[in-house]
């Protein structure tokens, strides 16, 4: 089985079968991460470059660990302070990396479309680790894996995605993937944070959190970028927390047994109350753990190894 594509840039063009294949591949690597010796030789002799133009300890570490557990050689490259300042273009940076025989480039970039631009210019496989507000495919895939691990079937699943949807690549990737698998996606937040026509992507739009939470099995909280205050998107963090913060009382509006997710890093007391983040319904740390297994699966599939 293989994905039959050079790159993983976006979940929009993937089929439900593609997504299922990735999740199933991750299963076998999840087993590896539970062993005492957490390493397999699948990518021995291959080189994975983490090219991060935005600071991201979590995603970079997860990819690094995933690649190392597959026995790949891993290089971390954060050009934010060096070549970009020197005026080198993204493509030139990438071609230099490619010249060092990188098999897979994992790219994080502040601009939407950067991964596509890169993939057009290099022969290496490119994995999008987040591009602007566009997509964050591996995050959505690990979210799906975590939902599935909890035994929740996707068909008919009700999921609320809460927060700044307009500026969220996590939301976009999840809307695409969950819709393809038959889930009902609700997006919730202030109208200032809802992008034009998001309903046409198959998401139900809610401005009232209590209303949106009724009957959902999954509550997916988005991180509030605190620096957006003052840009007329919301008046104060205080009011945002009151209207869109997830409290223990609000969790009760969802289905019994509903799970709470967050891509991290969390703002305790803003979008999520501390007691919710630490509650039994929270699967936030499972997401982190699954991230490694899912990324191992993706690296494996993208490498074409067998």
């Amino acid at each position: 089985m293989s994905l039959k594509r050079k790159d993983l840039l976006s979940l929009a063009p993937l089929s439900a079968d593609d997504i299922k294949l990735i999740l199933e591949t991750a299963d076998s690597f999840k087993e590896v991460t539970g062993r005492e010796i957490k390493k397999v030789p699948a990518l021995r002799g291959r080189t994975v470059v983490n090219l991060f133009f935005e600071p991201s300890t979590r995603t970079r570490t997860s990819f690094e660990l995933a690649a190392k557990r597959l026995s790949a050689d891993v290089i971390n490259f954060s050009p934010s302070s060096s070549s970009v300042v020197k005026g080198e273009t993204l493509l030139d940076t990438a071609r230099n990396i490619e010249a060092m025989q990188a098999d897979i480039i994992v790219l994080r970039h502040p601009s939407a479309g950067a991964a596509e631009a890169l993939a057009r210019g290099v022969k290496s496989s490119v994995i999008n680790a987040g591009d602007g507000w566009h997509e964050h495919p591996t995050q959505a895939l690990l979210d799906l894996y975590t939902i599935r691990e909890r035994g929740l079937p996707f068909e008919g699943l009700r999921v609320a995605i809460v927060g700044d949807v307009a500026h969220s690549r996590v939301a976009r990737s999840n809307i695409h993937a969950l819709s393809k698998l038959g889930a009902e996606v609700r997006v919730v937040g202030p109208p200032t944070m809802m992008p034009w026509g998001i309903d046409k992507l198959g998401a139900g739009v809610y401005y009232n959190l209590d209303e949106a939470l009724r009957g959902v099995q999954v509550i997916m909280m988005l991180r509030l970028q605190l620096e957006r205050q003052g840009r007329a998107l919301f008046p104060t963090i205080r009011e945002y927390a009151r209207l869109y913060g997830l409290t223990a009382e609000r969790v009760k509006l969802a289905d019994p047994g509903a799970i709470v997710m967050h891509p991290g890093p969390i703002n305790r007391g803003v979008e999520i109350a501390p007691e919710v983040a630490d509650s039994l319904s929270s699967v936030i740390l499972d997401q982190v753990a699954n991230g490694v297994a899912v990324r191992m699966g993706i690296l494996y599939l993208m490498s074409g190894a067998s």
Binding site: L90, S111, A112, G132, H134, P195, W196, L201
Partner: protein, 427 residues
């Protein structure tokens, strides 16, 4: 030099439309019509089956000189113009330094003379440095040869400054050109705000960013009585407001660009930086409104907004890449496509490239009237060709139309009675 163009279908919009000859003597149109007598020794251009029209007038180009000569120079821009059938072009002041004083204006005119191809007419800045604060020396700019004033891509946001500019311009009867964009509403945007921007996660520029400024400018034109020209309108709302303003007798003219009546925002998919321009490509409804505006005369002029950028600039990410595409060498076939579609008659299509822009800026150009400067284009409206940016005369290649199979070609271009362009292989 005496030139006679024989047997062509001559269209001089509003004056003549039929088969005939065109005689050019001493740089001027000497005679037009059937059976013109040409003196012996005249250069003869056989134009049977061809169109003979006034050279096109483009009210909106960026020739990048001084300051950005790696994108385009007045020489290469002029070569691109005449290859596209344009004999007169008006160049926007967003050079470095900005054309906000007579020294820069004189420099541009000097470079244009040296290039010796098209008539290059500078547009001066409205405000010093196009910073939107203090008026530029508009009187000096006018005297030095500027044909209009505009802060183009840096529209004057302060409505009081814009009002004063319009009032001040009255003293010189100079048109005030505005790129209508509320910079606060558009902040950070790089494509039309809509379904495609939502899917791609790109910051959007709403149609309202254009509309609110059209509304403001029309109100100020009504208040001041200034001659307002709206650059590259692209939205349903703009067309509606200009139509309404004209019906009330406000002195407003408007232009549209070929890309805005040919392409929609869908072309941006795949993060295609060659589809990045400002105003952005809009929706199907907007394209229909632009066509209707052209058809009913709401939009007077077709202009290119020829905006050359170097390849490496357009190879950046979508958000980093600069706005704009080159347009001089593709404008004719894209405009003739409107004739095939039945949106415009052939004569009105030619009018929007010639007499109408000349009238909007008050230029004695764009006509084949006897005594006029002999600026002429000879066209083959049926010639089919494939757009190949490598063959452009422009220094830049940034077009979304590469590989398009189009119809309508320029065979020869004459400026002031001199043949300045002949298509390779054209006899």
């Amino acid at each position: 030099m005496t030139i006679v163009i024989t047997g062509g279908h001559i269209i001089d919009p509003g004056r003549f439309n039929g088969v005939g000859d065109l005689l050019i003597e001493e740089g001027k149109v000497a005679a037009v019509g059937p059976g013109v007598k040409a003196p012996a020794g005249a250069k003869r251009i056989a134009a049977k089956g061809r169109l003979v029209v006034p050279g096109f007038v483009d009210l909106h180009v960026h020739f990048r000189e001084p300051g950005f000569e790696y994108k385009e120079t007045i020489q290469t821009g002029s070569a691109s113009a005449v290859a596209g059938g344009f004999t007169t072009v008006c160049c926007m002041p967003n050079t470095n330094p900005v054309n906000d004083n007579q020294a820069i204006t004189e420099f541009i005119l000097e470079r244009a003379r040296a290039a010796g191809l098209a008539n290059v007419l500078p547009i001066g800045a409205i405000t010093k440095g196009s910073e939107g604060k203090e008026l530029a020396e508009i009187g000096d700019l006018r005297r030095a040869g500027c044909v209009a004033i505009s802060d183009d891509g840096k529209p004057v946001m302060n409505s009081l400054v814009m009002r004063r500019a319009m009032e001040y311009a009255l003293a010189f009867d100079v048109p005030v050109v505005d790129h209508c964009e509320d910079l606060h509403l558009a902040e950070g945007g790089c494509m039309n705000e809509g379904l495609v921007s939502t899917e791609l996660g790109l910051p959007g520029i709403p149609a309202a960013a254009e509309d609110v400024m059209v509304a403001r400018n029309v109100s100020l034109a009504e208040l001041t009585g200034a001659r307002l020209h709206l650059a590259h309108i692209s939205t349903v709302g703009s067309v509606r407001m200009v139509r309404e303003a004209k019906s009330r007798g406000i002195k407003v003219t408007a232009e549209a660009c070929p890309h805005h009546f040919t392409l929609t925002e869908e072309v941006v998919r795949g993060f295609n930086t060659l589809a990045k321009m400002n105003p952005p490509l809009r929706t199907w409804n907007d394209v229909q409104a632009i066509k209707e505006g052209l058809r009913d005369g709401t939009i007077d002029v077709i202009a290119t907004d020829h905006a050359p950028h170097a390849t490496q600039e357009k190879q950046q990410g979508f958000t980093e890449a600069p706005f704009g595409i080159v347009g001089l060498e593709t404008a004719l076939p894209l405009t003739l496509a409107l004739v095939d579609e039945g949106v415009l008659s052939l004569e009105s299509a030619i009018e929007k490239l010639t007499t109408a822009p000349a009238k909007a800026f008050g230029l004695s150009k764009g006509t084949l009237a006897v005594g006029a400067d002999a600026d002429v284009a000879v066209l083959d409206p049926h010639a089919q060709w494939e757009v190949d940016p490598a063959k452009f005369r422009s220094k830049s290649r940034n077009t979304p139309f590469a590989g398009w199979k189009v119809k309508g070609a320029v065979l020869a271009t004459i400026v002031g009675g001199r043949v300045v362009f002949e298509a390779p292989g054209a006899a």
